[in-house]
Symmetry: C2
Subunit: 705 residues, 2 copies
């Protein structure tokens, strides 16, 4: 921001020449309207890293990155690390725009010298040493790590250090000692509800590597689709996937791709519920006769496997054997969530089974099912994992519980001797702001009072990208950049909690992730252009920039049509960013006004935005007349206009030092209350800041005459 | 534009409320500054197609495209057409954002019913029937074609018809009869100078299909690299490519990918010159002893094959046999251009050979070489093609000449009975505006006076993307969208020549090509962000939007460093668009002023741009202080500022109806003359329009007192 303060001074000279003081506001608005983005991080003293390392000291000077940059490797030969260095150089070329082929690996004394003590296993495992140290001076950089994994993390840190400077591309001199806080740092991708193409999986693995996540939890079967080729039971994919599934060769490719990035791939096959898609090809597995169709709607459904038939376990034994061979990871996730029990209640044979075996309720029946499945999973060399619901005292202690219900639930499991990971608080499909996820710590809440021994059994956490409301086009924008902030929670010291710093660094990382072809930024404009039907998206973008899709679980009930897995995903709620950065910036600006600690330029920026909002319906009307996809959101544009007007009026009162009349305040607050209700599944994220302005205007001390 | 005219009227009401007439300009500038883009084509009566079809009649009404849209196929079974329909539906889903799986192929009575009479060969050949008819009514669409190829073209036309309307996505009712004017419509991609990854080739084949081009001419060997795996002579790629080459499997994949899009793939192996990369592994082929290294510089170099040694022809026989087997196309391009003869002159044995065989000069020697090579090419079932230079009377008439020297040269060849295609005028690497290419017709100039029989031997044309100044990152932006305009020249009737219409439709097509993952639009912002090192690119974009890289062959001499194939490609001249659309729009606006036919809003828009340009150095300074990649262009920003000031002053004179003083005019024209000289390889494309304003201000009739 520092440099911006030159504008008014330099501008004043021009004003004098023009002899028109009113032009001053004109040009100020023009200038400032363009600069809502925060000052560039390149001005910061410390580099913008995410996740922040365990320890970082700044040195003096910087290491130039030029087209002749070289890397050398020492220690035992390590093909995976060589591939990682190859990708690192590709990425460095891409970030810097240097096509230079002589940016390469050399035998010794590279400008970046990497040294590892030992080679990690090709397929990563839970709990491996991931630490590294990275020392950069103006003469060169040294990256040391006990194994491959730490070296790969260090390469990602190095990439984050590179930035443009007055002397060209360079990394600042730093000394970093780093290691993760938790060994399990995951992202769950739901390929069941909406199929996610291989490209999407790959680019998200690249993103995970960049922020040091190390588990892809792959949710592969759902009511809406069974997504893996089974050679033993081919009707699973043939009848249960609409043709949208991964072949075993593709799965193996992804596993290798992930392993090359230090990432484990854990499959989830949800059972006994969430399994309608299995029953399309194999109705005999279900607890009611069928026939079944692939489910198109969202929610919890009745179909569940029949836990009372031996044939079910025979099927699962063969199936799990096949999948245990396909997926090398030690952990095997059986889901186990949200069984409503209705098919069991309605099936006389199952009811008879309960009586015969003295099983008291459906929860007990499911527990028995889990015990049987656990034995199968164990037989094929795997450790079983499941959602909270699987937790019953009769399961062995080596299973892992994934908690979606809350920190209490996780603490309970841990107290009973189980291991677990936290996902409650990291449900990124619920469209909550990054700060709310960032505030959740796997060892806070109920976990804070656990013994150190117990705390160790909390292995980490996972963000969950449930896929009701995402398509391959917009899914990246629901994962990123918030997942980078959560990755920091899993990696960095517990003391790293500064939210402003997080947002600043998250935005930098967000742009860096663009270099990996993630589409979280690029898809936004693409979708707006589709809605408008041309390039002329300025007005729609003004509206979209301050709109947020409704949060939590209310989206379905607010949908203008019954949403299914076949619904178009081309509306504004599908396109807008999860978290409005414009609203965040605007709120910081209005806070200055309200607190009386205003900076030069603040009011001009605020007025510029308010004017644009007030005029949004007029600006948007031409597009609305041409496009049904814009027209739907004209009421929202009118709401935004009302907010703009209220803000302008409030500012005028504040400017004049005139306390706003009580009835004005009442009228504005009533309007705000009305607008708080979502419109077309969208909320205007600037509303709270406008409300603050209105209240500030109305709460000024009355002017003494 | 029509709807824009509401603004001032509606705004006037607000002005009155505010009681501040000076705010009027403020807000007008704010509003208008955002709307430099032309009115959306959705407002046009006729759809925006490119290339324009041979015949088009508009019907009434439109065909809705909803998630249940279906396609049916009739006629003989055709796997390639089925794949094309599959891709068509994918593309339709993508353009509309409908994830709908029930948008699909049905057995009969699809909303789009396709009927073909016969199946075209899997691998396309020159001269096949590519015609089709497409009739769309509000009840459905019918696409008829003699073969697969026409049906595939019709599908692309249909995709261009789809747009958003007040009733959702739809295609207008039309009746189209269409066929190409020329059978050879090509794009040449030079993978030799800078290697182009497979992704780049694939997405450009998608782009070619969209605009109905049908030949990928693949320039595969150069001084700077040999790019195809040879199993017979593996040192070609092992030593001549820096590891950057296509395997034979990859080549086969690309050929199949192209064939699926109705596109032939013709390889070019340039010989006997442009061949340094061959000699790194096989120095014995050359006319001087070597050793050789891959060439890093640009230009015409001495190394050339030795045409006097039998071993050369033995090598070429084996090599051409291998490549003729790999590439199924009937045509085989041997280059043959730009042999400077220096190695021949300096080799005593070659000189002796000339004397012994009574060969008069190097051109004759090359002719003899070509004759030998032609026999080899012919022996393996291919027709030889080459650049102008190959044309010598002793070659058989079935060779094809590609003219880079000009229309005279092509007409000469045709008169001698040869066939030919035109590339002169379509050198897109020279950074000329689309209009200049669009004005070149293969049958104009010297070709216009040929007999109809002779004209038939002009088979079409090819755009040529020579790769000195492109990387995989910016190459799309040098190919597109101009190649869409040239494709129209090759496809549409000769009478289609309206330049304004071309630009309007080209910009629409440019955005449509984004759906194919072409990066011509997206890479621009990405590269600007890299230069600035943050998101805050507004000031740099203002400068970049009006800058054009120097045209023609002057770029190398103006380079701040000796350019090589290893040079970074991250500077502003690498990023800016070939043709400034801002400059084009600005010029249309200033023409209104100069001609006195001004529309409402014009002056406000002009002033808004001029203000921004005048202030560009101040706005850009913060980025320049942080980034070497921005700093270099501050002198250009100062030039732009001078243009902005001159334009504002000229407008002031015009506003006041006051003739500008003679010495002001002299001063301004001197400044303009100075700025005409390129700065850092860039030119300011708004200069001519500013000059017009300056002259208009100075040429007003003096006010009579």
């Amino acid at each position: 921001m520092r440099l911006r303060f030159h504008y008014p001074a330099q501008f004043a000279a021009r004003i004098e020449r023009q002899g028109d003081i009113n032009m001053r506001l004109t040009v100020l608005i023009l200038l400032c309207g363009l600069f809502l983005v925060p000052a560039s991080p390149a001005q910061q003293e410390t580099p913008s890293l995410m996740p922040l390392p365990a320890s970082l000291q700044m040195g003096s000077g910087q290491l130039a990155i030029d087209p002749s940059f070289t890397v050398s490797l020492s220690g035992p030969p390590d093909a995976r690390l060589e591939r990682a260095v190859h990708r690192f150089l590709e990425q460095l070329r891409r970030q810097t725009g240097m096509v230079a082929l002589d940016m390469k690996t050399v035998h010794e004394a590279g400008e970046l010298a990497i040294q590892i003590d030992g080679v990690a296993r090709e397929i990563p495992e839970l709990g491996e040493d991931e630490s590294y140290s990275l020392i950069v001076t103006s003469n060169g950089a040294t990256l040391r790590a006990p194994t491959t994994l730490g070296a790969m993390h260090g390469l990602q840190t190095f990439l984050q250090l590179v930035r443009i400077t007055p002397q060209g591309f360079a990394t600042p001199a730093v000394s970093i000692q780093d290691k993760p806080r938790f060994p399990w740092r995951g992202l769950m991708i739901d390929s069941g509800r909406h199929f996610m193409p291989l490209d999407m999986i790959r680019r998200n693995l690249d993103g995970m590597e960049a922020v040091k996540l190390n588990v892809l939890h792959w949710h592969l079967s759902e009511n809406q689709g069974f997504r893996v080729e089974s050679k033993k039971f081919p009707k699973l994919q043939e009848m249960g996937s609409d043709g949208l599934f991964y072949t075993q060769a593709e799965i193996r490719d992804i596993i290798a791709y992930a392993a090359d990035r230090g990432i484990r791939v854990m499959p989830e096959f949800d059972m006994p519920g969430h399994s309608t898609a299995w029953f399309v090809g194999y109705p005999e597995l279900a607890s009611a006769p069928g026939p079944y169709e692939i489910e198109r709607h969202w929610g919890v459904f009745d179909p569940a496997m029949d836990p009372t038939k031996e044939s079910t376990y025979k099927f699962l034994d063969t199936f799990i054997a096949e999948m245990a061979g396909l997926f090398p990871d030690k952990y095997f996730h059986i889901g186990g969530d949200e069984v409503n029990g209705k098919q069991w209640d309605g099936n006389p044979q199952i009811q008879q089974f309960l009586r015969t075996h003295n099983i008291k309720d459906n929860a007990d029946l499911q527990a028995q099912f889990n015990t049987r499945v656990q034995k199968i999973v164990s037989k094929y060399g795997k450790l079983m994992m499941g959602w909270d619901e699987i937790l019953r005292p009769d399961l062995p202690k080596n299973i892992v519980v994934q908690s979606w219900r809350g920190q209490e639930s996780l603490a309970d499991a841990v107290k009973q001797g189980y291991s677990g990971i936290l996902s409650s608080g990291y449900y990124i499909d619920l469209m909550q702001p990054a700060a709310s996820h960032y505030a959740v710590d796997p060892l806070s809440g109920a976990a804070a009072s656990l013994s150190p021994e117990e705390q160790k059994r909390i292995l980490g956490g996972e963000t969950t990208m449930w896929a009701e409301w995402v398509s391959p086009e917009n899914v990246d924008s629901r994962i990123w950049p918030r997942t980078a902030a959560i990755a920091e929670r899993f990696w960095s010291p517990q003391s790293v909690t500064d939210v402003d710093s997080m947002y600043e660094r998250m935005e930098v990382e967000s742009r860096r992730l663009d270099w990996l072809d993630l589409t979280h930024n690029s898809s936004y404009l693409v979708m707006l252009r589709r809605m408008v039907g041309s390039d002329d998206i300025a007005a729609l973008k003004t509206l979209a920039d301050v709109s947020e899709t409704v949060k939590g679980y209310s989206r379905e009930e607010l949908s203008p049509f019954p949403p299914t897995s076949l619904s178009p995903m081309n509306r504004l709620p599908d396109a807008v960013r999860v978290e409005s950065m414009t609203a965040r910036q605007f709120s910081l600006l209005t806070d200055q006004i309200v607190s009386g600690k205003m900076k030069l330029g603040t009011e001009v920026r605020i007025r510029s935005l308010l004017l644009r909002w007030r005029d949004n319906p007029i600006d948007l009307e031409p597009a609305a007349m041409r496009s049904s996809l814009v027209k739907e959101f004209m009421p929202l544009a009118h709401d935004l206009s009302a907010l703009g007007s209220a803000g302008l009026q409030a500012l005028d009162y504040l400017d004049r030092g005139e306390r706003a009349p009580e009835d004005w305040k009442t009228e504005q607050l009533a309007m705000l209350e009305k607008i708080k209700k979502p419109t077309s599944q969208l909320e205007l994220a600037v509303l709270p800041a406008i409300q603050k302005l209105v209240e500030a205007a109305a709460n000024q001390p009355p002017v003494t005459p």
